[in-house]
Symmetry: D2
Subunit: 352 residues, 4 copies
Amino acid sequence: MRAVVKTSSEPGLEMIDVPMPELGPDEVLLQVKATSICGTDLHIRNWDPWAQTHVTPPIVVGHEMCGVVVDKGPKADGPEIGQLVSVESHVVCNRCAFCRTGKGHLCENTKILGVGRDGVYAEFVAVPAANAWPDPPDMPYSIASLQENFGNAVHTASVPLVSGRKVLVTGCGPVGVMAVAVARALGARLIIASDVSDYRLAMAKQMGADITVNPATGDVVDTIMDVSEGEGIDVLLEMSGAPSAINEGFTSLKSGGEAALLGLTSAPLEFNLDDHVIFKGASVYGIVGRRLWIDWYQMRGLLRSGAVDLSPIVTHRYALDDFDRAFETMASGECGKVIMFPDPQDADGPLE
Amino acid sequence: MRAVVKTSSEPGLEMIDVPMPELGPDEVLLQVKATSICGTDLHIRNWDPWAQTHVTPPIVVGHEMCGVVVDKGPKADGPEIGQLVSVESHVVCNRCAFCRTGKGHLCENTKILGVGRDGVYAEFVAVPAANAWPDPPDMPYSIASLQENFGNAVHTASVPLVSGRKVLVTGCGPVGVMAVAVARALGARLIIASDVSDYRLAMAKQMGADITVNPATGDVVDTIMDVSEGEGIDVLLEMSGAPSAINEGFTSLKSGGEAALLGLTSAPLEFNLDDHVIFKGASVYGIVGRRLWIDWYQMRGLLRSGAVDLSPIVTHRYALDDFDRAFETMASGECGKVIMFPDPQDADGPLE
Amino acid sequence: MRAVVKTSSEPGLEMIDVPMPELGPDEVLLQVKATSICGTDLHIRNWDPWAQTHVTPPIVVGHEMCGVVVDKGPKADGPEIGQLVSVESHVVCNRCAFCRTGKGHLCENTKILGVGRDGVYAEFVAVPAANAWPDPPDMPYSIASLQENFGNAVHTASVPLVSGRKVLVTGCGPVGVMAVAVARALGARLIIASDVSDYRLAMAKQMGADITVNPATGDVVDTIMDVSEGEGIDVLLEMSGAPSAINEGFTSLKSGGEAALLGLTSAPLEFNLDDHVIFKGASVYGIVGRRLWIDWYQMRGLLRSGAVDLSPIVTHRYALDDFDRAFETMASGECGKVIMFPDPQDADGPLE
Amino acid sequence: MRAVVKTSSEPGLEMIDVPMPELGPDEVLLQVKATSICGTDLHIRNWDPWAQTHVTPPIVVGHEMCGVVVDKGPKADGPEIGQLVSVESHVVCNRCAFCRTGKGHLCENTKILGVGRDGVYAEFVAVPAANAWPDPPDMPYSIASLQENFGNAVHTASVPLVSGRKVLVTGCGPVGVMAVAVARALGARLIIASDVSDYRLAMAKQMGADITVNPATGDVVDTIMDVSEGEGIDVLLEMSGAPSAINEGFTSLKSGGEAALLGLTSAPLEFNLDDHVIFKGASVYGIVGRRLWIDWYQMRGLLRSGAVDLSPIVTHRYALDDFDRAFETMASGECGKVIMFPDPQDADGPLE
């Protein structure tokens, strides 16, 4: 079958022929209907220091997808053949103390599709049956594919209490604007979004932000103090990993506020624990992955009720054969989610 | 000044002239702009057993209102003269262990306006400055008046987690339909509402219920099992106090579910603790009043963001002079909130 | 092998020869070192209505035990051969929504050892590897056996906040007195215990109760009000299932208090929701089983630190051959935990 | 009356005669029975940068104390004349949004005794009646005086869940060793304490630490990994403010762990948000003051039940006239709490 593969320890990706995946006894074989690009995939393509230490070529790349079950191992529970499913990309051990206490997202033996085992930029992929999440048959493939990424937003916006509160979202990439949408759906009082890209701020507005601010042209902290009557924000959802945004976010945070951090900083930063956390009596939560499977149930609820509509963030569709152009679009930052279809016939909108 | 008074220990209310209220040092004097009728006021008018043991005539009745500050005691902090305010009807001591640990709604020395001290169906009323909640000057008087009752709905719907979940609201009087609206604003996945009145079920639908069911004409538990794929509900908001509704609600509750109880049953009931609570591992919360002042801040957030729009539930407006007709309307059950205006010029809509 | 079996649908148990258990691929075979008797086992022996509807003879009875791993199925992770383990008696499916969201104790497909599948009053038993909890090699067999029951006490006393608070434990059977010990270990301010048996109240005192009261000879509510300066209790741990105890417990509960209910009432009861729950703003939690596996980790912590010492509650030891005498002792109520040893050589104290 | 005063903007303190305090209408006048020294008082004596920006001479210094009510203002509720009380040093406004939502410890108008208004190193002091916490008449003055500081330890150890868990306390000054005692009382599984002073580590051991480690002579992280079977700690209580200790603490923290931070760092530090917080899915809580008045009730419970015994940490007693020697002892670090008595007759142990 065809697959997009990191073939050697250098920048770039190649589409090549690879053998069909082997199907384990607890696994299902999926025909990939749609896949989407995450920031992690860019790191792997660029072969940056993180990728060099976490990825061993050759490996099929990609971890966001939906597909249809075409085969099942003999011990595989769960979805039946023909069922449309989305995929949780974290394959966990179910045996460690984290997995055994409802904290599977912290599993110490996690293997990630497209990072630690073969991924989903391919015609087919085998995953544990437990990782295949049944979708309604009429869910658009684009939405079904990006659900895994949506789960990061749901996780981030669900740990602090956003309802009735003033919320700042720093970083308006796809997961940031999805966090805006979740905060809106959960009844936030006021949502402010910051990013260095006006394109992305426009997307944030479309997904429900009340106020947007570009630090290149406006002062984030001043803006927040203006619109919050000098009080600051109750909740920070940090999706950028940028030290300046982190600093602005914590400076704007009220005493007793809550900060949920998803964006990675890639390096230690200067941080004022006294002013940002201790004197404020603030609570800070590190966010990683999706709480298994609480956040998937939560996603299902938010999507089926219509409380969140993700369709505006699907901005580009490509054939998987066109993965290079798709990655260029993603790298440009002038996009929402970029979806790729192994079979162009499966596209749920016009291809670029 | 004119006021609606329970003058003697028998059914009925009278409008009579009473002296202007005395203003304590920590109090503000309010000119009443609008007042609304709560179930408690019906009990007092009807002089039922509860009223007979809790109310000592003569007393000015009523506890839901908004008004304008016209005078302040020498030690009164808070809103300035001319400010529009809503009123929290529970006057608490600020000294007991409950008040001192963030649980003022459980204050053991609570006095309630219109029940334990003179109330608000009058031209003027004096209340502690702390009980006067500043409103935006452009808030319609009807909405400002009913906020106190809205606070019961916010409290009830905020204690369990409703976001992304299936919620049943039993009892669709005004506070029930406001609970529907709050659950909607907080991102509930599915909202089912039950009541014996089709009028009220229509109101519930207007405020955001997905499914309504009248136990007189449909089976509540069957309906819920149908629409929840046999799972039942995650959250019960019990606003009726009716034993049959309580039983239906708990029967429909999933294992691990949460039930928040606001409706009063007035008498002990047969209750199956094993099946309804223990085997299910359910959590049950008694709800009384408004968490001081968390729920008022929460209300402010939900109203200012537009997440909740209360205007549809204001169905009737009367001059306070017409209080008898207003009470008859309230007693009929064919209404949402019934608002009364001491000065008909203040009415924010056509009077009946 | 020898096993204690419910052979037919009538009262009584028999020790008979049965085939060795079949070992599933994910299972471990355990040589039973010690077993203990739970109230459920009495119900099954007595063949009461509950037993008649939940148990289908023939079945090996018993669910509390420790043992040594003597064989493993080909897919069994977890403890190695020779390891001493305690056993979680709830075999859960790991696939339902409860299992997938950290609520395995509410699994809708639970099978209980000795109730829904063959149990542990036998020389050997096969259980899923996941249900075998490794113990330190020097843990006394009696303690290792009763850990599963201890888990009920840990679960009950961990859901409400007991530290620094006044706690009432109603019902001082073995799980009740273990709840006393847990409340003590977690820093409760004052522990009151009630029971109709003075023998059991003495055991409660030994495990850490400050005050004990027998409703046959003293007024529970009066006693509590006396020792709490008229305030009542912050936390009720209800372990009896007796309506009178439930009523006394809720009457003594402070506003804002928490009640965790483990004892089963077997029938609906008259319950005053208004006074006991709603007006008090109380929280009530149904408790079932052990939170998988949070409560097992919690148990491990409490036992290894020495914060809880369970040895005083092991009051009787029998050879398994003597199961009839052991059951008579358990039925008398004049005992703590009654332990039985398939091999009398394994007894960690003198046999009766 | 005599009082210890910061008389001018330079290092040092003086005992001088000052007028008796004025008594406000809501205040009580206290005759000081015992006072104790906190790190803050050292900063003020040393006149370091923090003190220079927060303190305006002349001001009576000191904020930890107990005393007897000798007069009451006309509006003062609360303790009667003759009552022994401890004092909460944070005088809050009761009007801001924090005070009105159960977060008085974050009051934006807080005035601290001995920092923002006259303090307690004096024969008499006037404080709001609400700040005077009644003590049992037989509570030793030393213990009653240090309760306010104990409240910091209770707050810090109560926000994360310590029961049944492995806890690291970094920094074993008086508040650190009190946190050790609280963690012990709440049922921690294992308590590790680190400090650069062997004197203080001995004190930590006496108050309940299982393992102590001095980073000058042993590797903190290695020690923790050894004693936790490679798992690390569940909970970090950071009481030192030392960047090296903070780093060791977070490095030792398990995924999903909780860190409560009380120690002030005085300056921004290099902090690895990715490794310490985000990838771990950790929760970090800033701790300031005492939750009003939850932590005072919690203290009362822990002390009255005997779950915590604070007497070992009272290591030195001085007459207040000897304040210079008392401060030298405190500055040496070779001490627990240092207590000073305005009237040496009140000393509850031998004076130095």
